[in-house]
């Protein structure tokens, strides 16, 4: 079948078949191969565990962010009831920013969750395949010793060699995928750690970099909306001079 498939696996398969052919005791080679597969699968499992840890950390950050949003909302109300519309606006701006952050964080967590499920399903499938391989390997070993080491059981050995190669590749692939996911998960974590929302909860730190100004532009309308809603809720809050003075004393 010239030109058709097999490629990478064919080379490995040939290698394994040769190894089995040459081995004084093919049983040992098969045992070794099985052992290797089990070890590699452990790596896959460890990788998945790391992805889960990253996801949990992000979830914790997400709930922290939710608390901040509530806090900022309360602060905005307090500021407004003391006639400090400027502070209320700042708090609401930060709240909007935090909400955007929360949204992207939640979608990252969701994506990680989906990937984690896929990796886990893959790991379970591989575990089954390794178990199948273990059974076959025992069959081969039994046949080999029954044949008193003289008769080549090459067809079966080739078959099992191919399966071993294929399983090895599948595990390798699962490991690669898990590694990619792990790297991505920790990258997201790093980003979130370095992100702005730690200082989002602190009022009055007034840093106006371009990013902030830009997001203020987009969130401006939302902030205005919320502000007027809040004003309506608080009755005619703000405006009178004594309240404003109080606010300044406190600040």
């Amino acid at each position: 079948m010239p030109g058709l498939g097999g490629r990478m696996s064919t080379v490995i398969k040939a290698k394994i078949s040769r190894m089995l052919d040459r081995a004084e005791d093919p049983g040992e080679t098969l045992d070794y191969g099985y052992q290797k597969q089990v070890e590699l699968l452990q790596n896959v499992k460890k990788g998945i565990a790391d992805v889960v840890t990253s996801k949990k950390r992000l979830q914790m950050q997400s709930s922290k962010l939710e608390q901040n949003i509530v806090k900022l909302d309360t602060q905005a109300r307090q500021a407004l009831s003391q006639g400090r519309e400027d502070l209320a606006r700042l708090a609401l701006e930060r709240k909007t920013l935090a909400q955007t952050e929360l949204q992207s964080l939640d979608s990252q967590v969701k994506e990680l969750e989906g990937q984690q499920e896929a990796l886990t399903a893959n790991e379970q499938k591989l575990r089954q395949k390794i178990e199948q391989f273990r059974t076959k390997k025992e069959v081969i070993k039994a046949q080999y010793s029954a044949a008193e080491a003289q008769v080549r059981i090459s067809e079966a050995a080739n078959g099992v060699g191919e399966q071993m190669a294929d399983l090895g590749l599948a595990i390798q692939r699962a490991e690669d995928k898990t590694e990619t996911m792990r790297a991505r998960a920790s990258a997201v974590e790093e980003l979130e750690k370095a992100g702005t929302f730690e200082d989002l909860s602190q009022l009055g730190g007034g840093q106006d970099d371009i990013d902030r100004q830009l997001s203020e532009l987009t969130s401006g309308a939302q902030v205005d909306d919320e502000l007027s809603k809040m004003k309506a809720e608080l009755g005619s809050g703000g405006g009178d001079a004594p309240a404003l003075e109080q606010g300044e004393e406190k600040a």
Binding site: G5, G6, R7, M8, T10, K13, K136
Partner: protein, 92 residues
């Protein structure tokens, strides 16, 4: 003929399918060489379909060499560049 889908299993297909599979494979190689991912995806799913429609899964007990080994179902285009190449079939 026996076809293996990597990471999946082995299937027995009528020998007549070899030509069809070979043709799809050659076209897939061409698509990959041209960087045509959409074309490759289409051909790849046709190859998998052929195996799914005409193939019977081999029993777990059977230990047989495959005539053809196809890459994993969820092969990425980047991986395909390594598998579907003109002289990809490296002689032993």
């Amino acid at each position: 003929m026996i076809v293996r889908i990597s990471g999946d299993g082995q299937f027995r297909l009528p020998d007549e399918d070899a030509d069809r599979l070979n043709e799809l494979d050659n076209r897939a190689v061409a698509a990959v060489e041209q960087g045509d991912e959409t074309g490759f995806r289409e051909l790849w799913s046709q190859m998998l379909e052929l195996v799914a429609n005409d193939g019977n899964a081999l029993d777990d007990e059977e230990l047989t060499d495959s005539d053809v080994i196809l890459p994993p179902r969820d092969i990425t285009f980047a991986e395909a560049k390594g598998e579907f190449t003109g002289d990809g079939l490296i002689p032993d």
